[in-house]
Symmetry: C2
Subunit: 366 residues, 2 copies
């Protein structure tokens, strides 16, 4: 067998896995229609509802990575000609805009300087003005490390007659989500961030309002694989075979979700916060600066550090990986060469991760 | 940790995994841009080329199950308005037709009685008549157990100016494939059949003719996740980040492919055949009949057995699962209640699998 190198994954995901997830992954699979597996699917849905803060019946794991979750949500909810309002302050808002355009949506992109969230008042006024069928927002922008407040915008979106779509890829399992209270209609995430399961599944949830819109569509959606109407009959309903579910990954994600729930959501979120505080302290000692200036705008699980633009940051990341086995992320798009992205997610949100990083940092004289 | 029940998977997939695949799956992941992982991706592409019988540069694993592979191929190659000719003699041909319709193709379905393949002369004459942009065929129909001959049709499809798409979900790794010789332009498979890896990945391959058509499309394709043009820059090219690859599953699939190559393709295919012969013998002793009457039309890895329509076959399958831990598949669509589908795939293609099945069969007095 190949012996993969040992890595401490402190990039933007995948994160260091919970051992329970890897153990579950290694079990010989059962069939995708096995009663044991169908019960596990129910347990996973129930667990994901707690993490998402929703009672949505249709809450499950899409058989693809986080981007497949994004695509499942938009493919089902954006009809050709729909007005789609996308708030973009990083790569992933931009990705939603591109996808909505591919789906035939009339897309308006509202941009914001990278490193800052949108004011909720701005969002409200844009929604009232554009009256979109679908409004897309990123809760935790993985490309910048910015947390977006969104507690007060759901009512406006709903009053304007549209659906509220939220990207929770990096926040699920690391920050409290209250999708029902926030009146979010559909959201997606990934298995490999704060859930510390390997990449390959996308938790998704659809409100009854979202499903009503999906079911009222006259035109078939372009995707069969991601058709949530078909999938709702496999994850619920009469358990009709759709596709062969990725059994081992589903069992692993269930183990991860159970690990989070066993720790307790309050403690898990608090651990992410404490680790961020420790990170900030270690950065302060080295006079390092966050890219996100305002502390209240920072994600605890994804820390964006400004790097000296005179150094070859790529070469240093490579040394960090090869000599110390530590992975951190570089900047995406306009932030390439400007920042490092340090993920302290899920099982990686530990002071020991921060210590390991800065021991290597100091040894490399960064 | 949960203790999943032990199952002998003799249904239409997932199949019993190679231990090497499960070992690889359970390793803590490395990052999706880690040089170690990028090399493993190359090795996987090289191995899949051998199994597909192709030199296609763009040969890789799509981040979804077999149906995602089907969707990746058709989404990229079927433009709205394209004439698409689908030969359907089971569920999976029908699925390709439905998907091509969703994509805006002008679809002509040529049907055939379930349980028989198409005559190649029929295919050739239909192609010459319809002159399709895309011709879709199923090599190994998992819903019926029928093997489709296709050695002589590629030239006609190409001469008519179209692309040849082949569903190899159940044949890859269990039957010799010669995609280049057969002039197939794009094909897809699944990880959980004869490759005996857990479900979750879809091996795919695209010829340079297929990619030329993809690249000449004026309109963006509706999917971002499955856009093979973007993916070609991650699996090759400049290794640009697209989505977070399912690292553990990719490593597991590589382990499976290496297990097949280590055994040797000739021996592996021959083992599938020998196991089928043993199955036929055991069935004969019990006066059981194959649904596929003509022996030369039968898939070695997927045996469809007629069941007595007076018995409650579903209850018997349930007992087989619960009392003996053996999974077999029921019939799909019009074959529901009429047949059992017994998969002898990959690591499950062993005489011991057949023995276990018929010991239970006899004990249940079926």
């Amino acid at each position: 067998m190949r012996n993969p190198p040992t890595r401490l994954l402190l990039g933007p995901g995948p994160s260091p896995c919970y051992p329970q997830a890897l153990d579950a992954l290694a079990q010989p699979p059962v069939g995708h229609m096995d009663p044991y597996f169908l019960r596990a699917m129910d347990d996973l849905s129930a667990g994901l509802r707690k993490l998402f803060g929703t009672n949505n019946e249709l809450t499950f794991a899409a058989s693809g990575t986080g981007s497949a979750g994004m695509e499942m949500v938009l493919t089902n909810l954006v009809s050709p000609g729909d007005r789609v309002l996308v708030f973009a302050h990083g790569v992933f808002g931009g990705r939603m805009a591109e996808l909505a355009q591919r789906l035939g949506g009339k897309v308006k992109i509202v941009s914001q300087e990278w490193g800052r969230p949108f004011e909720q008042a701005t969002i409200i006024s844009e929604v009232e003005d554009f009256r979109p069928a679908v409004t897309c927002l990123v809760h935790a922008e993985t490309s910048t490390g910015v947390l977006q407040d969104l507690s007060h915008i759901g009512e406006t979106i709903q009053n304007a007659g549209g659906l509220f779509v939220l990207d929770c890829v990096t926040s699920l399992g690391g920050l409290e989500l209250k999708l029902d209270q926030w009146q979010v209609d559909a959201a997606f995430s990934g298995s490999q961030k704060c859930l510390s399961c390997p990449p390959g599944l996308a938790p998704v949830t659809f409100s009854s309002r979202a499903m009503a819109k999906r079911r009222s569509r006259m035109q078939a959606i372009s995707s069969w694989y991601l058709d949530v109407e078909l999938l709702s009959n496999y994850w619920g309903g009469d358990r009709a075979y759709h596709h062969t579910a990725p059994v081992n990954m589903v069992m692993a994600l269930l183990a991860s979700v159970e690990a989070v729930l066993e720790e307790g959501l309050v403690e898990c979120f608090s651990r992410h916060k404490r680790t961020y505080h420790y990170m900030r302290e270690m950065m302060g000692q080295r006079k390092l600066q966050f890219f996100v200036e305002n502390e209240s705008h920072r994600l605890p699980m994804l820390n964006t550090i400004r790097v000296d633009s005179k150094i070859d940051e790529k070469a240093h990341r490579q040394r960090l990986l090869e000599e110390f086995g530590i992975e951190v992320g570089g900047g995406l798009g306009p932030l390439a060469g400007q920042v490092w992205r340090v993920g302290l997610m899920g099982n990686g949100a530990r002071e020991s991760s921060v210590d390991a990083l800065f021991q290597a940092w100091d040894a490399l004289r960064l």
